[in-house]
């Protein structure tokens, strides 16, 4: 089903994360020109578009990783720009999960340590953090690599470990930037199934940036970006 929504927002639910009229440039390169996106709790949204359309920049703005030059990002009615740097960092750690295409695990740490990291930072005891991390790895089917370093894992295993780290704090929303982009078809399908399954099990929202139609098909809603702006049409499933 195709709706027409000029703001690229969901009209049916109260937004958990909302980005409105976002503009962002990197030097002379304009990445976002008034993009808007709302994400409701528990919703899975795919952001699609050609290379250079601003998908990753939009995701990073919504996740509070970078600040937009103009426009607002709100999370549960709090404007991110009103929060201090420390408060934003804490918010990202506790409420937001982040999965990227590659290069996200610390190479020197084991899978278990990588997953336990956010919990250790929140002053959880080492044993408690490791137990929670192991539980998360088990649920994602990669407990066997708990003691391995990222260089000793396959790409698919490393991505599932990264998903485990994103979910270990039980965030309200997970942002995934091309989570299957660096994987072969089978490993990509497994990683996507693991991500969507874990997100649905946790009841959290998921924002997926992808240019892969098969990945986008896993979302409840698909929003397209063109030249840094949200396209008028979006696909609902």
């Amino acid at each position: 089903m195709t709706d027409t929504d000029p703001t690229g927002t969901s009209a049916t639910a109260t937004p958990l994360v909302s980005g409105r009229d976002l503009h962002r440039s990197f030097g002379r390169t304009v990445a976002l020109r008034g993009a808007s996106l709302d994400v409701a709790a528990g919703e899975i949204v795919a952001v699609t578009g050609p290379s250079g359309s601003g998908k990753s920049t939009l995701l990073h703005c919504l996740a509070g990783v970078i600040a937009p030059d103009a426009g607002t990002v709100t999370y549960r009615d709090h404007r991110l720009s009103d929060l201090s740097t420390d408060a934003r960092t804490r918010l990202r750690r506790r409420e937001v999960g982040l999965v990227l295409q590659f290069g996200q695990l610390v190479p020197e740490l084991t899978a278990l340590e990588n997953v336990a990291l956010p919990l250790l930072l929140d002053k959880r005891g080492r044993a408690e953090a490791q137990a929670a991390a192991l539980d998360r790895l088990e649920r994602l089917g990669v407990a066997e690599v708990a003691g391995s370093r990222p260089t000793e894992m396959s790409g698919g295993q490393a991505q599932r470990v990264a998903i485990a780290r994103a979910l270990v704090t039980e965030p309200a929303v997970v942002f995934a930037d091309e989570p299957t982009g660096a994987l072969d078809t089978l490993a990509g399908e497994q990683a996507l199934a693991a991500l969507v399954g874990a997100v649905e099990e946790n009841g959290c929202a998921l924002v997926l940036v992808t240019h892969d139609n098969r990945v986008a098909a896993a979302a409840h809603r698909e929003v397209e970006l063109r030249d840094g702006a949200t396209a008028a049409a979006e696909v609902r499933r």
């Binding site: 990753s56 996740a63 990783v65 750690r93 610390v106 956010p118 930072l121």
Partner: protein
């Protein structure tokens, strides 16, 4: 359009340029000081006001002074080496891109030599004013006891040679590593420390060991070798201990980083151990001198000991800086992973703190071990000393404090680079 060489020179970053210029300027100043001592007349010089201190005035001990000045350049050259490694990851990418674009090995070496040789030449030139400051400092403050460098001492025609040599060394280092230094796989360590240990045990059975100068010299050399060869093992041990006991994320990151690549830390630890050994001996030696020596030319021994202590402190600062630069280089190499960590809510200071823990974990234990061995060993060897624990305790505590301070300062100075490297904004391009 700017020339490609200039573009590549500036692409290395200001921090790298500053480190190369600073290290070569300080090296030049020390080499000029050494050349000044070599150029002194081969006769016994006057001591006291307007003259030189005993060890410089005496032509017999002058080669030792020159050697000490030359040895002082070693940590600075290590720092230069570390500075050249800085940014290896991005330079490796750049080199590959240049190769794809058709650059030959000769082109890369030429650009590499320019990239390091040009700032090294600037550093060599700046070494002249540094030398003048050093010269003034070595002449001042000694009053009637004579100066470390007598009035009018200067390197003369050697100056040009020294400047050219330093600039050429920089160019050579740059040409040798046009793409920076790739991280090599950690090698398996062999227990070479067993060799000096076995020799020490064998020497122990010699009854007149400590009655002979040769015996004492052999014990000291073997102890230094033992410490140096044990240092990488000790660094690995500290790393494993850190990982096992890590109660914080910085300690965990530091321990894992050390355990993954203990080589550079081990080499730094060996140097720190040697410095600790010197810092342990000097206070005990000075106390012994004060208590037992009644001659009027106490300066003959006291000043070189103080200079050796000063050199050891300088070396410690340079080693700590070199270690911090290496640690920063590791973070820069992992900038994507670290930027992702920060994006997922890890405060950037955790990354900086992990570097501080890493530096402290390498420097403090080995410096303290060196100081303990040096101070207790010297106190034990010195028959005249009353064996009170005071000087030993002072030497150990001061060494621990100084090594911790040096690590703290070095990692604090590099913090802005680390913060910039882990900025999640780089996730787009890292």
């Amino acid at each position: 359009m700017r020339r490609l060489g200039l573009v590549l020179l500036l692409a290395g970053g200001r921090g790298r340029l500053a480190l190369v210029v600073g290290a070569t300027a300080a090296t030049t100043a020390l080499l000029l000081a050494a050349a000044s001592v070599v150029e002194l007349p081969r006769t016994h010089l006057g001591t006291g006001r307007g003259g030189a201190i005993g060890v410089v005035a005496d032509p017999g001990t002058r080669p030792g002074v020159v050697l000490a000045l030359l040895l002082m350049t070693v940590p600075l050259l290590l720092l230069l080496d570390q500075a050249v490694r800085l940014g290896s990851t991005s330079r490796l990418r750049r080199t590959e891109a240049l190769r794809v674009a058709g650059a030959t090995g000769g082109d890369l070496r030429r650009w590499g030599s320019l990239e390091v040789g040009a700032p090294a030449a600037v550093g060599a030139l700046l070494g002249l004013p540094c030398w003048l400051v050093l010269h003034a400092a070595l002449r001042a403050g000694r009053g009637d006891r004579g100066a470390l460098l007598p009035e009018g001492a200067g390197p003369g025609w050697w100056t040009l040679l020294v400047l050219a040599a330093v600039a050429a060394y920089g160019a050579l280092v740059g040409a040798r590593r046009p793409a920076g230094a790739g991280r090599s796989e950690p090698r398996r360590r062999r227990p070479w420390w067993l060799v000096p240990l076995a020799l020490l045990v064998a020497l122990w059975s010699w009854d007149d060991l400590f009655d002979s100068d040769l015996g004492v010299f052999a014990v000291v050399v073997l102890l230094v070798a033992l410490l140096g060869l044990l240092a990488p093992t000790a660094a690995g041990l500290v790393a494993r201990l850190l990982v096992r006991r890590a109660g914080s994320v910085p300690a965990l990151l530091a321990g894992r980083r050390l355990a993954a690549d203990p080589g550079p830390a081990g080499r730094a630890a060996a140097a720190v151990g040697a410095v600790g050994l010197t810092l342990g001996v000097v206070p005990v030696f000075l106390v012994d001198l004060r208590d037992t020596y009644v001659g009027s030319d106490r300066d003959y021994y006291e000043v070189p000991a103080l200079v050796a202590g000063g050199c050891a402190l300088l070396a410690l600062a340079v080693i700590a800086a070199s270690l911090a630069v290496h640690s920063t280089e590791t973070v820069l190499e992992r900038r994507r992973e670290m930027a992702t960590l920060v994006a997922t809510g890890v405060p950037p200071r955790v990354v900086s703190d992990s570097q501080r823990v890493e530096c402290l974990a390498v420097t403090v234990p080995l410096a303290v071990l060196g100081a303990v061995v040096g101070s207790t060993g010297y106190a034990w060897l010195t028959v005249s000393l009353d064996r009170s624990p005071g000087p030993v305790a002072v030497a150990v505590v001061a060494t621990a404090a100084v090594s911790a301070l040096a690590s703290w300062l070095a990692t604090t100075a590099l913090r802005p680079w680390v913060r910039d490297a882990v900025d999640p904004e780089h996730l787009r391009t890292a």
